[in-house]
């Protein structure tokens, strides 16, 4: 299938982007930095084509559905959204050095996706809904934003440590990173993008559940964990906006929030049971 081939190529391109971003970090050459960004963008373009192709091929098979319904497809889409969100932030905040820490994610996620069955299965009746795309896309863009915020928060700790050891050079080896206060601000801005999207994801999910099963909230593990993630980031935002929590405490909440996000996305499916069966590893 052409889509599998394209996904394979995208994985390789992501791998090169990762290598280039790390090299950029080591050699600080402007040219390397440009090539790194272009190759990550190239990976996104190839993967966009792969997703489009998979969609098209599902129609050719007479199934005709959006490629967002099993673990393989959701991982591939997750990798895609992380790459896209990062590229947008890189442009907006000029944080190319952060790329060495974010760019491994699309590659690793695609590599993990490749371990899962990738045949195009037809949809069970419950998934045949117009809500599928809006629900999945809003959730995953939110997850991806939280992933980037997580990377930035980890870097924040590295940077703060380096700054306190050698305050004059801005952290010697880590001097190339944005300042700790800039990282703190970027971490917040990213969550400010993710939080509304997660909210939309939860609401569209509730609406869909109500259309499909006649109940908008059933305390299913997936629902409950998405609420937990929402509560953690809500706590983060309240602490930051009304109490001015900055720096370490904010970064810790952002890291905890992403741990909960990961569990919500993968842990619930692999460990707990519930309505979202796409991740079961049977």
């Amino acid at each position: 299938m052409t889509n599998s081939l394209l996904f394979g190529i995208a994985t390789f391109v992501y791998f090169f982007a990762m290598v280039l971003y790390v090299s950029y970090l080591a050699f600080r050459s402007e040219v390397l930095g440009k090539v790194a960004s272009i190759s990550l963008l190239g990976g996104v373009v190839v993967e966009t084509a792969a997703i489009g192709m998979r969609w098209y091929e599902s129609y050719q098979m007479g199934i005709g559905r959006a490629p967002l319904t099993n673990l393989y497809e959701s991982l591939a889409f997750f990798a895609w959204t992380i790459a896209v969100i990062y590229l947008v932030l890189e442009r907006k905040f000029k944080i190319k050095t952060v790329g060495a820490f974010v760019a491994p994610f699309p590659f690793l996620i695609m590599a993990y996706a490749a371990l899962n069955p990738n045949d195009i299965q037809p949809l069970v009746p419950a998934l045949k809904s117009n809500w599928l795309i809006s629900h999945v896309v809003s959730c995953f863009v939110g997850y991806a934003a939280f992933a980037v915020s997580f990377c930035v928060s980890v870097l924040y700790f590295i940077k703060v440590g380096a700054e306190s050891r050698s305050p004059k050079s801005g952290g010697s080896f880590w001097g190339f990173l944005p300042s700790s206060s800039a990282l703190d601000e970027i971490g917040y801005k990213t969550i400010a993008i993710g939080f509304p999207l997660l909210t939309i994801g939860i609401v569209t999910g509730a609406f869909w559940a109500n259309v499909a099963w006649g109940t908008y909230w059933s305390w299913d593990p997936k629902e409950t964990w998405s609420l937990i993630v929402w509560l953690i980031y809500a706590a983060y935002l309240h602490a930051r906006i009304t109490r001015g929590w900055r720096g370490k405490r904010a970064a810790i909440l952002s890291i905890v929030g992403f741990a909960a996000t990961l569990f919500c996305y993968l842990g619930v499916n692999l460990i707990l049971s519930g309505l979202h069966s796409y991740g079961s590893m049977s």
Binding site: P122, V124, A126, W208, P221, W225, I232
Partner: protein
């Protein structure tokens, strides 16, 4: 955030404990702790599977643990009194904070400090002075035109005693209301959920093809009657060649006073709503419609056969017993653990003595002969009837939940991406006869972005010639 500093609520008669409770209810500590407690409790609820039959818990836990957990309400914790207390505290906290912030937010929306004086200028960002050789009237006209592009709407003009004109512009004033939107929306969602659980019901019915129902048993165990009848005309299940389900659909009719008022084919994701009651495609199955049973004497000779419509008591030929078909299983489990295939559950009512229940295996007709008794039975013919399983739901609070959700999303968007921006400009002729323009602004959020916007405006004003 000077304009947003919360205005303390008026203390009632100075009673100390009232203000203490109030301070507790509006504290950030309470909200953060509540959010984290709710998160922790929710995690617990996903680790201990909720609302399972008790025997399953005995399989997983020690009997003592089951008794303890059950007493603590950990098996149905989202409805336990302590979870509800936490949610109520959250609602109280939100209400109190909304009241606490009300005045501050309203004050921030008022037009005050209309005069750009020394004191105000210190609290503004991008405060700049520009001087022009052009006369004041020309500057005023061009200034209004250029600033109007960034700040549409009429400006407020005030003349101060020293002959200086002060212009006040603002936009995004109502973005301050986002606070009310996000917080009241949560209360509205809670209200909707409560309305649903007090005034609504959920239930489930099986309707065989060609039959109708006018009542259902709700989840809480009550019988709820409907003002109409629901009839299942047909049910169809389709499968992909791989065997996985493709489509379930029931052709339903709603009848009132014997007349059909609505007919619709429902599917998963496409329910039917009538008079606030919604019918969802939930499951399906088949039940015996009519069973023909051979009656055998001890030894194996047939004494007769009897046709039994499902759910009706029928006389057994030759004896004074009656028989009724009461149950059906697609995959019957034999005592030795093997699969016994299709089985019809019958109840025999002897003329004297207690009724007896028996399973007759369709695919193993000899099965019943191994039982005690003077006669045995075997299924000669089995006609099945399909039924559709419908989830039925009436929820008058639903509309509030969706209203609250929309308000929440809109409020979060506004809170993150819009801000209340204010701009002051003053114009005067200075002592050297030049026109002097002073400008400064503030935003209640995202000051960096506003700084860039201000620079653009200032650049435009500097280019007046």
């Amino acid at each position: 955030m000077s304009a947003d500093t919360p205005v303390k609520a008026v203390k009632t008669e100075g009673t100390d404990w009232v203000s203490k409770i109030w301070d507790f209810l509006t504290s950030l500590k309470l909200i953060i702790i509540l959010l984290l407690i709710l998160a922790t409790l929710s995690i617990t609820g996903t680790l201990i599977e909720q609302n399972k039959p008790l025997q399953e818990y005995y399989r997983i836990y020690q009997p003592g643990t089951v008794a303890l957990f059950s007493k603590l309400g950990l098996f149905d914790m989202y409805h336990s009194w302590w979870f509800v207390v936490c949610l109520s505290l959250l609602a109280l906290n939100i209400t109190a904070c909304t009241m606490e912030r009300y005045r501050g937010i309203m004050a921030g929306m008022q037009k005050k400090n209309l005069i750009l004086d020394e004191k105000l200028s210190k609290s503004l960002q991008n405060y700049t002075t520009i001087r022009y050789a052009l006369p004041l009237t020309v500057i005023e006209a061009k200034m209004l035109e250029r600033t109007g592009k960034a700040f549409p709407g009429k400006s407020l003009i005030t003349k101060s005693d020293d002959g200086v004109s002060h212009y006040f512009f603002e936009k995004g004033k109502y973005s301050r209301l986002a606070f009310f939107m996000t917080h009241l929306s949560i209360l509205i969602i809670f209200l909707g959920a409560m309305a649903g659980s007090f005034f609504g019901y959920k239930g489930y019915v099986n309707i065989a093809e060609g039959e109708m129902v006018s009542q259902l048993e709700t989840r809480s165990g009550n019988i709820q009657s409907l003002n109409f009848q629901v009839k299942c005309n047909t049910f169809r299940a389709e499968f992909y060649s791989s065997g996985s389900p493709m489509d379930y659909r029931s052709d339903l009719s709603i009848l009132q006073n014997g007349k059909e008022v609505i007919r619709k084919t429902i599917r998963v994701n496409d329910p039917l709503t009538f008079e606030g009651v919604t019918f969802y495609q939930s499951s399906y199955g088949a039940l015996p419609d009519q069973v023909i049973i051979d009656v055998l004497k001890k030894g194996g000779s047939i004494t007769g056969s009897v046709t039994i419509p499902f759910g009706r008591k029928v006389d057994v030929p030759g004896v004074s017993d009656k028989v009724e078909v009461v149950d059906y299983q697609e995959h019957f489990h034999l005592k030795n653990g093997e699969e016994g295939g299709r089985a019809v559950g019958v109840t025999i009512y002897p003329a004297k003595g207690e009724p007896m229940e028996r399973w007759l295996l369709v695919d193993h007709p000899e099965y019943d002969q191994t039982q005690d008794g003077n006669q045995s039975y075997r299924v000669k013919d089995l006609q099945m009837k399909k039924y559709t399983g419908l989830q039925i739901n009436k929820d008058p609070g639903e509309i509030l939940v969706w209203l609250g959700s929309l308000l929440l999303i809109a409020g979060i968007m506004i809170a993150f991406f819009l801000s209340h921006k204010k701009l002051w400009i003053s114009l005067r002729t200075d002592n050297k006869g030049k026109s002097e323009l002073k400008i400064g602004g503030t935003a209640n959020k995202n000051r960096n972005a506003f700084g860039i916007e201000m620079e653009q405006i200032i650049q435009d004003l500097k280019e007046i010639s």
